[in-house]
């Protein structure tokens, strides 16, 4: 029992830490092109990049469209991303978890 509540506490603390990172540290993130983009520029294949199919997404480039303040926009987009990743991860891992042997019918039913 205690283990269980402490796992819940761990997960909540972890999510709060992730929120804090995107809210407080991401404004300090280095805006330069990353390693691959730098190599693409230097080696001369950056020009082959095509427009992103989600370039018009309301979350494109880690900003929430309609939110003008840069810090808030990036921070909010990060929180949305964290929660979306957590939710999608929970769903995928709930499907990928070890089934209890005692309940094969349920396990089978969830497969598809």
């Amino acid at each position: 029992m205690k283990r269980q509540s402490s796992t819940r506490l761990f997960v909540i603390s972890g999510l709060l830490l992730a929120f804090a990172l995107v809210l407080l540290v991401s404004p300090l993130a280095n805006p330069n092109p990353d390693g691959l983009n730098r190599v693409a520029i230097d080696e001369g294949f950056a020009g082959t990049e095509t427009d992103h199919g989600m370039g018009d997404s309301p979350l494109a480039d880690y900003a929430v469209s309609g939110v003008d303040d840069d810090w808030l926009s990036k921070g909010l987009s990060g929180i949305i991303g964290i929660l979306a990743t957590f939710a999608l991860g929970l769903a995928l891992f709930a499907l990928s978890r070890k089934r209890s042997e005692s309940n094969p019918a349920r396990a089978k039913g969830e497969r598809n």
């Binding site: 283990r3 269980q4 402490s6 796992t7 819940r8 761990f10 997960v11 972890g14 999510l15 830490l17 992730a18 929120f19 990172l21 995107v22 540290v25 991401s26 993130a29 280095n30 805006p31 330069n32 092109p33 990353d34 390693g35 691959l36 730098r38 190599v39 230097d42 080696e43 001369g44 294949f45 082959t48 990049e49 095509t50 427009d51 992103h52 199919g53 989600m54 370039g55 997404s57 979350l59 494109a60 480039d61 880690y62 990036k74 990060g78 991303g81 964290i82 929660l83 979306a84 990743t85 957590f86 999608l88 991860g89 929970l90 995928l92 891992f93 709930a94 990928s96 978890r97 070890k98």
Partner: protein, 230 residues
């Protein structure tokens, strides 16, 4: 490291997507052999944490940044196959942020999720065999394995570029540039990974997949003696 659309031709991207889909299928099957109910939220948190830290680009050289890939970190925390799935989930969500191409998703899943998680974990295991069986070794092995995993990821990109790059360039030059900059990024990856694994080990060592064997009576860290034995 996210490959945008256009760097690699459509055929190669489609091939990579097929291999990535196969990899995800295998990963789901392998994960379902060990991931218990308690670990499901931990794996979800690991994915969410990787998403957050991937937003934190650090400077690596003049005019260049890098960020955590996180595959090795996720693998050490929740196991290699679940770790690969964690980063795959991150990459899928990032598509909505226009980060990493859509046709390039399979390429990125291979480079950033599978190569780093499986390759990083293999290196981690190898290092643990030669290091003493104690907590600090787990932390150091995590950092080194994570750092090397970034270079592995860069190497696999160069292979993809060699097969399907949309421009004909001297591969040696691309290879040298990729390995050079990703060695620097690997330093950051190693530091972040070691710090995170160290943090989790200090709070809940039982949640670190790569350190499950540390609970044995011979090598009990003093704080968890009582629980470890029972």
């Amino acid at each position: 490291m996210h490959i945008p659309d256009g760097f690699i031709n459509a055929g190669t991207s489609a091939g990579a997507a097929l291999i990535a889909a196969g990899g995800v299928t295998v990963a789901v099957k392998k994960t379902s052999r060990y991931l218990d109910d308690k670990q499901v939220p931990i794996a979800g948190l690991t994915a969410a944490f990787v998403f957050a830290v991937q937003m934190l680009n650090f400077p690596v050289a003049a005019g260049t940044s890098g960020h955590l890939l996180g595959g090795a970190l996720a693998a050490i925390l929740v196991g290699p196959w679940a770790g690969a799935l964690c980063v795959t989930v991150v990459l899928v969500v990032q598509a909505f942020f226009a980060d990493g191409g859509i046709t390039a998703l399979g390429l990125n899943v291979l480079d950033m999720a599978f190569v780093t998680a499986l390759g990083g974990y293999a290196i981690f295991l190898g290092l643990r065999k030669v290091f003493p069986n104690e907590r600090s070794s787990v932390v150091v092995a995590s950092g080194i394995a994570a750092g090397i995993s970034v270079v592995l990821s860069a190497l696999v990109f160069v292979i993809q570029f060699a097969i399907g790059g949309n421009v004909d360039l001297a591969l040696g030059s691309v290879l040298a540039a990729m390995v050079g900059v990703h060695t620097l990024i690997g330093l950051g990856e190693g530091i972040i990974t070691a710090a995170t694994v160290g943090l989790v080990l200090s709070v809940r060592p039982d949640l670190v997949y790569g350190a499950r064997d540390l609970g044995t009576p011979l090598h009990i860290p003093k704080t968890s003696t009582a629980e470890g034995v029972s």
